[in-house]
Symmetry: C3
Subunit: 205 residues, 3 copies
């Protein structure tokens, strides 16, 4: 049934939970890439975190569809939820590539990219928390997430250019190129989330 008395706070709580869960996943991925032991078991853990994220997404969208009055535009709630979910999907996909392709070595660019995702996730947690209070600081977190995406772009471009210069085994090249690309795509999705938050702030100004 449509809820007539809006309990809009719940949406912000749910976004916070999603952003925290994403941060947990990003930190685990970074830890795996920094120290490649027990990779299979730890990627399994990452999968559990990703599944939890899927459930949170499903719950949030169901709640959205059942709620009449929402704290901000329905379409923006939908987009923000999907973007945060996408970041975690790519975080998990990066871990999965390690197992599927039996990747065991890479340049420091891989953990560096994971670190960028961790920092973006932390900024997303802050942005979501401040969004509720309609605090002007929100925009500064969005700007930082965008800056981090540019940083990731530079790192992955340099890593892939170097790969084409030094890697002579084409199959190894395919594997590592995809790892860098998946990591970089995660940072693009975080930027999408930041852009939604920015537009929510600007609309309500």
């Amino acid at each position: 049934m449509v809820r007539l008395v809006p309990r809009t706070t719940k949406f912000f709580e749910m976004f916070s939970e999603m952003a925290n869960n994403l941060t947990e996943g990003a930190r685990l991925l970074k830890a795996i890439l920094q120290d490649m032991k027990d990779v299979e078991a730890r990627v399994e853990q990452l999968k559990t975190i990703e599944h939890r994220g899927d459930e949170m997404t499903h719950e949030l969208l169901t709640k959205l569809n059942q709620t009449f009055i929402t704290p901000f535009d329905r379409e923006d709630i939908h987009k923000l939820t999907s973007s945060i979910d996408d970041v975690l999907d790519f975080v998990h996909a990066a871990g999965e590539r390690l197992v599927m392709y039996k990747i065991t070595d890479f340049t420091p660019s891989a953990p560096q990219l994971a670190d960028v995702i961790v920092r973006q996730s932390e900024q997303l947690c802050q942005a979501v928390a401040h969004l509720e209070k309609k605090n002007n600081n929100v925009l500064q977190y969005c700007v930082e997430i965008n800056r981090l995406e540019n940083e990731a772009d530079r790192i992955s471009r340099a890593a892939i250019a170097q790969l084409f210069e030094i890697e002579t085994n084409p199959i190894t090249l395919i594997k590592k190129k995809e790892l860098y690309e998946v990591l970089e795509t995660a940072t693009d999705k975080a930027e999408d989330a930041a852009n939604v938050i920015e537009s929510v702030v600007v609309k309500s100004a």
Copy 2:
């Protein structure tokens, strides 16, 4: 001119036609992958089906833009139309890869993935038919389409992992990897369609 007396039934008929056309395409792709003879001529047939799908999509979106009162949210009608169209695009793209890359052999994973797409398309036909009657069964078809996407994910991941283990020719590897990925993407798009239908049901509950 904007039609003031809504003839909302037409939308459901059009969705049914799109889902049936998709099912026809998916079945043809599966038949090709199960028995690789006359590939070029049969992929040409698949192209005809895909073109018909494009025309149905165009017609449905034009009708949507000309209609004032719609049976459910305009944005959802748009998304559902696009998702069904996308599934068929990837079904056709998979067939096209066979011709373009002159792929002649692959593991049973390829026809298995096509079979998953056939089953998703059949479920989509059911979901669309029951959506009109606001039947509660609709959700069960959506759940099944999601389950099938997970199945496709497992099949394609295993197929690609195996490919990296046994294929020593990198160019052959690139071709087959893309075939599996295109097939898997078709199942993702079917999941997108199911998610739209689910949200339509939840909203109207």
Copy 3:
């Protein structure tokens, strides 16, 4: 503050500026691909054009969020802006591949694809200009942009099929395949823009 007196003309001016900037970028890419000298410096120029496009996009979306009455559906303004931005992103990405992968030779398909993007961009400029006047000609530009996308599809498919036939170095194949794909994706995004314009016209008919 929300502007109560709409100055809707500004949106059309901004779309025109975006389409002109895109055309400038597409022409530069075509010129680079036709005569591969000073590639690095000219791709740097292309980056400057792409950054300008990013700023125009940001400005247009901010204005959209601050404006109460818009000349056509907010969602369509958002989609059109994003699509034009996407075309330029892929135009720039194509140039970037030349530098990153040190690509120095390719078949005439590459400049031909760039030429298709130039022609689509010119049609987009016309479509946007005529959209404001609610001129019926708008649709003819959209049809032409769609036709050009089909042309690009044929060119890139033939180029990639040929690549798989003659290129024996898998790493070179990976580089060139990606160049053709990135160019073709730019033409897809131009088609997305044309589809938004078409739907705006149909809705207001």
